[in-house]
């Protein structure tokens, strides 16, 4: 027996996930990333993700590296990383309705909840980014904070105190979140909310002392929390649509000590687009499963690009960068270094930047 779940991201993209029932009910209901977007049933989805065994139709394909089976608008491979193996088939990789078949296996206990997590994390999430770009929206890696109808975007690699900033923002009543790891931006400087880890952050705030979830007991209570607080009202923490006029790159620097005197400098648009593209590539490159050195999707894009160099996907990163150029044309862009340890006034500084529309920064 299988169950279907429906998701709608601001009417920009709709998708459906169909997976086989496992024997452990609470695990089925953990909604890792997209709980914020779960909706009632609909019929015209852009992406259908089917989780479970399937028979691929990978005949008449170009075979890249003995592993990737590729024909126009189609991708199939069997892949493996440490103890996890999976098989994925994507119909409509480049255009039209996308159907993903995904089947995975692990020898470890995580097999119980892994298939859905893995499918969403390594295939669905990057694919949504591809589909959104097709429609003219760009998903960037970063954090968004809003106050009323205005917002500020913070682009950073890992370790730039994003989680701590989010936690501080959630505690404040005026500041809302736009996104906690990814942001969807579109023409005219509009940003759409895309919270992926909000419930996880809330769990951390309520139950954990530190940022890291390390011990098994914490993990178990996290699973319980995520499966029980499904109907939890996360909307009140989030601003779904807002306008941004500022984007700030933030990076941690070892010798930067000043907590109260932030110095941000303005940077040109072309440089900004290159930097955001790098960040997005890194996200597709780096850790998905904790132990994984590579998120495989980057390799899948490369393999498809090799087979069809002149295709849409073959030009994915160029299109990513040029679309950014149009979207960010009228946005002010800044660069900021922050100290190694979390400065408690960081959130205030962001809010100040956001409000300070008239006065240009140093």
């Amino acid at each position: 027996m299988s169950i279907g779940k429906y998701y709608n991201i601001h009417n920009l993209i709709k998708f459906k996930i169909v997976s086989e029932r496992t024997c452990i009910r609470p695990l089925e209901d953990i909604n890792y990333f997209f709980s914020y977007f779960e909706t009632e049933e609909f019929t015209n989805e852009d992406i259908l993700l089917r989780i479970g065994p399937f028979s691929p139709v990978n005949n008449n394909c170009k075979v890249i590296d003995h592993k990737y089976y590729i024909k126009e608008n189609y991708f199939y491979c069997k892949d493996q990383e440490e103890h996890v193996t999976w098989e994925v088939e994507i119909h409509g990789f480049e255009h039209g309705k996308t159907i993903i078949n995904f089947h995975s296996h692990s020898r470890r206990v995580e097999q119980l909840f892994l298939p859905e997590y893995l499918a969403q994390n390594i295939i669905l999430r990057p694919l949504i980014e591809l589909k959104l770009l097709e429609k003219g929206y760009v998903v960037i890696h970063g954090l968004g904070l809003a106050r009323g109808k205005n917002s500020i975007l913070i682009a950073a690699r890992g370790g730039a105190h994003k989680t701590r900033t989010i936690m501080d923002a959630l505690k404040s009543s005026e500041i809302k979140l736009v996104g906690d790891d990814r942001l969807i931006i579109g023409k005219g400087g509009t940003v759409y909310s895309y919270p992926l880890f909000l419930r996880l952050v809330l769990f951390r705030m309520e139950h954990l002392q530190s940022e890291k979830i390390s011990i098994i007991r914490d993990r178990l209570s996290m699973i319980r929390y995520l499966s029980q607080n499904k109907e939890m009202d996360t909307k009140r923490y989030v601003t779904d649509r807002s306008d941004f006029t500022k984007l700030v790159f933030v990076q941690r620097k070892e010798d930067c000590i000043s907590c109260n005197e932030y110095i941000s400098k303005s940077i040109p648009l072309a440089e900004c687009c290159d930097r955001l593209t790098s960040s997005s590539k890194m996200e597709m490159f780096s850790s998905g499963l904790k132990s994984m050195g590579f998120v495989p999707f980057y390799k899948y894009i490369q393999a498809y690009s090799y087979a069809f160099p002149m295709s849409q996907i073959g030009n994915y990163w160029e299109r990513y960068s040029t679309t950014l150029q149009t979207i960010l044309a009228d946005v002010s862009i800044y660069d900021l270094s922050v100290p190694k340890d979390y400065p408690p006034t960081l959130l205030d500084y962001y809010v100040e930047m956001m409000e300070d529309f008239e006065k240009p920064l140093e």
Partner: protein
Amino acid sequence: MAEMYYNICDVVKFKIIDKQKTLVDRIVGDPFQEYENYLSESILDDTDIDFVVKIVDRIERRDNTYILDDKYYIDEGYICTKDFYKIAKWEIEVIKTGGKLTVSIVPNMAARLFISGFFIDFIIQYVLTQKDYSIVHSSAVSKNGQSYLFSGRGGSGKTSIAIRLISSNRDFKFMGDDFIIIKDGQSIPYFTPLNLFSYNISPFLAGKFKANQKFTFSLKKLLYRLTLGYAKFFTKLNPKHNFPELLSIDAEISRIFIIIPTNQNDLVEAKITRISKSEVIEYLTNNLKMDSRYFPKYFIQYGFLFPNDAFSKFWRDYKDNLTSNLPSGVDYYSIELPMSLSWTRLIDQIERGVLL
């Protein structure tokens, strides 16, 4: 401690400073055997050297850098990080001063085996690119001063085609089976040892084995079977030692073929299509991109902070160089090759089409 100097065609010069050889080196082979044909007998002047690779026990990381993802320590002209691939683990530090690179690596035992493939190959590619040369993942043969390049992913048949052509008594000379250097429409041979295993050995190559190579080849095959495929060690055959009479000098590029295996096994012929120069550039760039995983990843991370640096612009420069180094008046082809087709039939087909 051992210091070795290398000189590739007077274009790239480098030095490797290594620790003592390990037991693994003796069994599996020297990690730098890949470049043995370019070992310089004389000590090169430090000012001539493009990069130094140091295999060390520990790295004194620079202070006060930017820290990305909690593990990349980056500053202008500086990258330091720890990384892994399966059981191979390493720490690496790259320092760029005045266009010259110093790369220190702390590898564990497994990572030692990958030093050339993961790092040095890419550094050579980087230096060539900085000097406006191109290097492509391809095999090549030449005849009457004209060269024919066969580019493809690993296992697509590059080596097999080149070896069959030079052993066919039709005056084809060998230019390399893995990488070819290109400058101003000319291809420059790049001789690295062939990696041979039971599936890519031809009678011609088997005949070129020296007695001790024949023995280790069979031994490694046996070891592979005994360990159910876990211990897979290639036997190296060096063109310069094993068939020096068939080696080519620089030659003008006449054709480039991109080989793409397919599972269209009902086809009795390969599908050969003429493609444009810009398509060939895409194929060659994507091919190299898929080969080199780690340095490009570090460069992307670096590009988040320093987007205008040569590290960050590497692939753009690489493509620009191909545009100026590949000739415009020649024919480029893609070959969609059913995996069931034999090499002899493919070569027949190419000859029938008078493509060679």
